[in-house]
């Protein structure tokens, strides 16, 4: 039994980027690894339906985001969301930056977080994000604006420190 033609090449090229996106969505590397694997397995199963290799990455990205949002919906009944952080962030170094950033992203709703990651990490246009998430462009615009405002309010002065830190 052979791997579907072209899948290994696609996976080798796409997996690192997909996992980084998953990391920004999930906030930890273990969950990101699981999410990436689940995503790529779905792509594997549906590979025969992908006629244009160029669309494979978009398909994978959509699958990743949908899997993330579906997973968050399932967990929503067991997790308690808190607006308060137990500790204040220290001076942001590289590791510190990640920690503070992940905590800040954690205050967003899963959908808003997906919007932020797709818009500002994946550099997708508003229309592309809207198509990926199955909502209107106006909805993406308002969600991203609200998310940025929430992040800025949450981070306060840390926002400037983070942006200027090397």
């Amino acid at each position: 039994m052979d791997c579907p033609e072209g899948f290994m090449e696609f996976m080798s090229a796409a997996a690192p980027r997909l996992r980084r996106t998953a990391y920004l969505l999930c906030g930890d590397w273990h969950a990101a690894q699981d999410l990436t694997q689940a995503t790529l397995v779905r792509v594997f199963v549906g590979w025969h339906r992908i006629r244009d290799p160029g669309s494979a990455h978009a398909y994978a990205q959509r699958t990743l985001v949908n899997s993330y949002l579906a997973g968050r919906r399932r967990k929503s009944s067991t997790e308690v969301v808190s607006g308060e952080l137990a500790d204040q962030p220290g001076p942001p170094g590289t590791a510190g930056l990640r920690l503070v950033l992940m905590q800040a992203l954690g205050v967003l709703t899963p959908r808003a977080r997906a919007v932020v990651v797709l818009r500002y990490w994946e550099d997708r246009s508003i229309n592309q994000v809207a198509a990926l998430l199955g909502c209107s462009a106006g909805n993406v615009t308002s969600q991203s604006a609200r998310a940025l405002a929430k992040l800025r309010a949450h981070l306060g002065d840390s926002w400037l420190e983070l942006c200027s830190a090397d």
């Binding site: 039994m1 290994m8 996976m11 997996a15 990391y23 920004l24 594997f44 199963v45 500002y120 990490w121």
Partner: protein
Amino acid sequence: MHDTDERSMRELLARGAAGGEPPLGSLLGDVVRAGFRARRRRRIASAGGALGAAAVLAAGITAGIGHAPWQGRPGAGQAAAAGSVTAPWTEVRARGATVPSWFRFAAPQAPHQGWTGPRARTTAKSGAELLLGDVAAGTKAGLLQGTLKNLGNELGVQVDLRGPAGKGSAEMQMSAPGGRQPGVCDDSGTIVCRTYHLPGGTRIQEDLSVAGVGPAAHEYILSVLVMRPDRGVSATFTAMNYFVTGNARGPASTAPPVRMATLVAAAQDLRWGWTMNSGFVAHAQHLRLGGDSGQAWH
């Protein structure tokens, strides 16, 4: 201001995602293995179920039809034997494929008795406990996982096993009424496959297939699908010669840790059902189920 925020956000995310990234490890191999298994499950689930359809097999596959006389072999406390019977079976073998020397189809057995006494809804833990009882005698089990899926219409349990018979993984999937049906043996990875009815109408499909690419090639998968005559429950039992966790795999020639006969007997176990003996279900709640980090062997 908004543009500044957007630009800053891009920089923050780029720096946040950079560095501290663990290696991909076995991710790519795990994806391929899990992909083959998922594709296989999907094909089984969507197959028509008509044994007669084996006559319209894809090119490159030869089919043989015969009769298998067999004797029911009940164990202590089990149901009476069905007795010596003869039933038609259909065997499909991929052209050019080599059946490993260790492989044998199962000698069909009469099923165990079902549960008696007060009933309670089957849980992931009770399913896992029964899986261990059915397939893992004398072996050590680790990374036990049980899940109720698809709104509770499917129960899945998987466990890594190591023991005298080898090492690898075993899985069980039980579907609700009207769920999976035995299909034709047309999966692309199949080496040899056979389908038959037991006396009483139980339908069984046994399958040996191979998965993997590159260095991981020739990983063997044994699979049994049993559908009860009343269509009340269908169960798929699978054994493979690699850990589902991907941290160990057997060489090409190694057999899975569970033989086909054990899988068939386990899949026919009438104790599998959407309800079980309530005492057993309560007892099973003490079973420890691990997640991806649950490496403890017990």
